[in-house]
Amino acid sequence: MDFFIQMLASGLSVGAVYALVGLGLNLTFWTTRVLNFGQGAVLMVGAMVTAVLIASGTHVIFAVAVALLTAAFILILIEALAVRPLAKATGSMGWIVSTLGAGILLQGLASWRFGTQAVAFPDVLFSSADTVQFLGAYISVQYIAVFVISVLIVVLMELFLRRSTWGYAVRAVAHDNEFAALLGIPVRRVVLASFMVSGLLAGVAGILVSQVSGTVDPGFGMHLLILAFVATVVGGMGSAFGSLVGGLLLGVLEKLVGGYWSPAAAEIVAFILLVGVLTIRPQGLFGKPEAVKV
């Protein structure tokens, strides 16, 4: 029972981070129909910058702020260099290569600058020794903090999208950017803002996931990106709430399978879940089927 609760707690906290990563992916996908395959590397940069700055004696808050701004800035660069130029050719799938390339470039830069070895991630939120007792099991306070912060951000984003006029604008751009412009919505600014916020989300997610796993290395983002992508597709690409449910489902499943069977089987289960859900509901659990007019 203790073991089960511990696995559940770590699954929920990791799953909430998947949701956060998925939300970042979703946000830029909505506004540009581009899936940013470079997002994984941005997670890594967020975590790496935090770890390196704290190791060199910088205050935690300052280190986190610099890391988040760096992540947001990188996303703006990705939009300007890897997404916008390709949008001019309608129907081009070049963004798959350009965003992936941006990610590989970032990963390469990090390996060159910081080495390919995993770096220990410092305690940003509480200490790894802090635990609380719940139903007889000891649960890390860090897990709880990571879970709470991630869920809070996802809920706030969903509220922003559903309840605020700027949220209406983001959804309008997502639905029909030409029509949105005719309503007076500054489409370019909405797109840029979506990349900036996506970068901030990636930075936060990178820091949170490293806090749970304890280390960060230049290659860790790609794995996370794939799992977040699965979570988002399972939950439904159009819905922040869907990302959350998909993320939690995947996180818990991954940890339970890893704990009771073998960690190596965790990814197998992730993809079985993906294929299974997509067979029954192609739009994801909470997605709305997209009708494309031709």
Binding site: T165, Y168, R171, H175, D176, E178, F179, L182, L183, G184
Partner: protein
């Protein structure tokens, strides 16, 4: 007053609008008449800015708006209801209206504008919390029309507002358009494939063929020529 001078619109090598000049007077309804592919939609898209014009000038009440981006033109008072009943399907009726109001930054109060919309089209008030995608065709057209006019812009472009609607709804919508134009001395430019339908509401009309103006005149002149026009330029007789 909306003035278009020597407007040219090209998609690659295809010239959709060729050297079109026209003026649409305030307080009047001006029709663009032409068959499918005559360039009506391309002309409107160039006026609202969603398709940039290759060359030429567009003036609203004497102000040159040719270099403004589409969202800026929307803010200076050019409203464009595109063909194909474009609407925010996943937004509720009221969210559609809020979005259409807020970002154009009009003076005045949204609450009053909303009340006016609901008194013009009570069915929209009943369905204010419904997703716009679930409305009937006629209801969607009412919403589209309200989104284009609630902030009382001086220029309204309506691309085939009657398409696919029941005659009774078409009458209701045309009544609304007439009143809108007359009461505030505003420009309404509307496109129609059916000359006879356009002539029910329009005070003046331009007939387009292959991207060029081939005939223009007031209602009487168009009426007299409608038989010739239909066979010569429109391909179909309405």
């Amino acid at each position: 007053m909306l003035e278009v001078r020597n407007l040219q619109v090209s998609y690659g090598a295809i010239e959709a609008v060729r050297d079109v000049s026209l003026s649409a007077r305030s307080g009047h309804i001006t029709a663009l008449i032409g068959a499918n592919g005559a360039g009506k939609s391309s002309l409107m898209r160039a006026i609202s800015g969603v398709t940039p014009a290759t060359s030429g000038q567009i003036l609203v009440n004497g102000r040159d708006i040719t270099r403004l981006k589409p969202h800026e033109r929307a803010r200076v008072g050019v409203a464009h209801a595109m063909e194909g009943r474009r609407i925010l399907h996943q937004h509720t009726v009221e969210e559609n209206l809020v979005t259409a109001w807020h970002f154009r930054k009009p003076p005045g109060s949204f609450k009053q504008a909303l009340e006016k919309v609901y008194s013009n089209f009570p069915v929209l008030a009943e369905r204010r919390r419904a997703k716009a995608g679930t409305l009937s065709g006629g209801q969607q057209q009412m919403l589209i029309l309200s989104m284009a006019t609630q902030h009382e812009p001086p220029v309204v472009l309506l691309d085939e507002p009657s398409l696919g609607l029941a005659p009774i709804i078409v009458t209701q919508i045309f009544e609304y358009i007439k009143a809108y134009s007359a009461e505030g001395n505003r420009v309404v430019l509307l496109s129609e494939q059916m000359a006879t339908l356009a002539l029910k509401v329009a005070d003046y009309g331009y007939v387009l063929k292959h991207g060029q103006v081939v005939f223009d005149g007031d209602r009487k002149q168009l009426n007299d020529g409608v038989a010739d026009l239909s066979s010569a330029y429109l391909g179909t007789t309405g």
